[in-house]
Amino acid sequence: MKPDISTKVGQIELERPTMLASGILGISLEVFARLYKDGAGALVTKSLSKEPWDGYPNPTIVGVKSGYLNAVGLSNPGAPYFAKMIESNTTVPIIVSLVGSLEEDFVFMIKQFENVKILGYELNLSCPHVEKVGLDVGDDPDLVKKIVKSVKSHSKVPVIAKVGLGSSDYLETVSAACESGIDGITAINTIRAMGIDVETTRPLLSNKIGGLSGSAIKPIAVRCVYEISSKFDIPIIGCGGVSDWEDAVEFILAGASAVQIGSAIGEKWTGIFSEINNGISKYMEKKGISKINEMIGIAKKF
């Protein structure tokens, strides 16, 4: 019998365990529909703010030896515009990523999506290169508590918090989010990093400092998923450097219920979702595993 690769992240049901990570190709409904057809189990939007943001000037993304550096600067069309853009959607499983500094920002944005069909929200508490939002919020557990409580009280769909490595203990951010009723955790975002061109002696990104993604960060991300799942009873989505089915399985064994894929799309293009889904399926078949949840976190028993 073919293994069942559907999975659940708390209340969020996914046909397939591979999701599109936030900020990757994620600005139009048409592209979401295409990636869903190509095998993604869910699509996380670019992080949306109250108002449209242009982001930083280019260069905003460059490749480095082991992955990518980016400081896109959270360019996005704003929550109201985006909500309108996807309001006609009934079939594509979308998770809306939100970014902001204040409780009110988040509440305002959630209002925009009241009548739009979405799977849930992902709160970006971890973008490492824009001031006052992202990690600046995630590094402040009290603010995290306030925001999560507000969002939870206004949202009719599940809410996930996306955490990353900032200048405080990310496990306290997780703890604050869990206490405040969060439905799941995505780990991790990019890690603060930079590159300098030796010919011009200039930083490669216009914002100088950006976030590192791709294979480079995978072992760090797997460690975080393992730590969170060892310390908290909360569904986890693994993210960071997934580029083949073994990476995806590694995250699941560490404790993730699903994975997000970002940078690797730049190398393998949109076929990566079904490639990884098939790989997971074959692995399960070989190992006699019939459902994803039989594998979640089993590396912890050693």
């Binding site: 190709l25 600005i27 449209p52 490749g63 480095v64 061109d197 940078s263």
Partner: protein, 270 residues
């Protein structure tokens, strides 16, 4: 060590060619960029200023690549003003390329959209019969006419320049001239690059005659490699699925000819 195509290769500008009062071609040395496919582009780092997608221009010298830049906003004007000896960074090459057909070929270009078409000319067979339509607003904005003649010296060919104000060549829109041509001639392939409204008309005209037609699109680009999503046009990512698309497909694309997204990702009309 393997070259990382996603990290800018910093090159020195070795020569600058004045094409028109607002267009210059900057020449540099690099084997990879000297030999890209027609339609491929680079993300060009203008250190301290910005990074822009640019078609990779040919150079008549071996081992050299080039950029043909029109001064427009802050970034392109800054690049336009670069001097010999200045450094720029080149990421890529990115994107697909025109499918090269043989026989009777029609190329329709406007402005810096001529860049990939010039490279296309270097890929043709001697037996191909080629007509190049060059559109411009006015006489002093016409460029690459001589270059096209030179590249086609061994082919049966015709270069037709059309200016909107009639100060040089034929008068009117390049697509009007194309309509005239199509009324009497058949083509095995039509290639176009230039303003999207122009390309839209070119594709419609060629498609109506069932000629094979391809267009190279421009969209807002940040990564150039299929990660950021900023270049989406309907369900395609122009940097990665394109920039070259078949006319048949383009006529089914909701955005082609009508809308594109700005830096924030908001749709705007052409």
């Amino acid at each position: 060590m393997q070259r990382n195509f996603n990290k800018p290769l910093v090159v020195k500008i070795e020569k600058i060619i004045e094409e028109t009062p607002t267009v210059r071609t900057l020449v540099f040395s690099d084997e990879v960029f000297a030999n890209v496919l027609p339609g491929q582009f680079a993300m060009v780092w203008i250190p301290g200023v910005n990074e822009l997608p640019m078609s990779v221009m040919i150079s008549l010298e071996k081992g050299k690549g080039a950029l043909t830049v029109r001064k427009h906003g802050v970034a392109s004007t800054s690049l336009y003003n670069f001097k010999v000896g200045d450094y720029i960074g080149m990421r890529g090459p990115y994107g697909n390329s025109f499918t090269i057909k043989q026989g009777k070929l029609l190329l329709v270009g406007g402005g810096t959209g001529l860049v990939p078409l010039m490279r296309l000319l270097t890929f043709l067979k001697k037996t191909d019969e080629v007509i190049v339509l060059i559109g411009a607003k006015t006489k002093e904005e016409v460029f690459f006419e001589k270059l096209a003649n030179q590249l086609l010296e061994h082919n049966k060919h015709e270069i037709i320049v059309v200016t909107e104000d009639g100060t040089y060549g034929k008068s009117g829109l390049v697509t009007d001239e194309m309509e005239n041509l199509l009324s009497e001639k058949k083509f095995d392939a039509v290639y176009t690059c230039g303003p999207e409204k122009m390309m839209h008309k070119v594709v419609q005209l060629a498609h109506a005659k069932k000629f094979h037609v391809q267009a190279s699109l421009e969209r807002m680009m940040k990564c150039g490699m299929g990660i950021c999503g900023s270049c989406c046009a309907d369900e395609v990512l122009v940097c990665r699925d394109g920039t070259v698309f078949d006319g048949d497909y383009l006529l089914s694309n909701k955005e082609f000819g009508y809308t594109h997204r700005n830096k924030a990702g908001i749709l705007e009309n052409y």
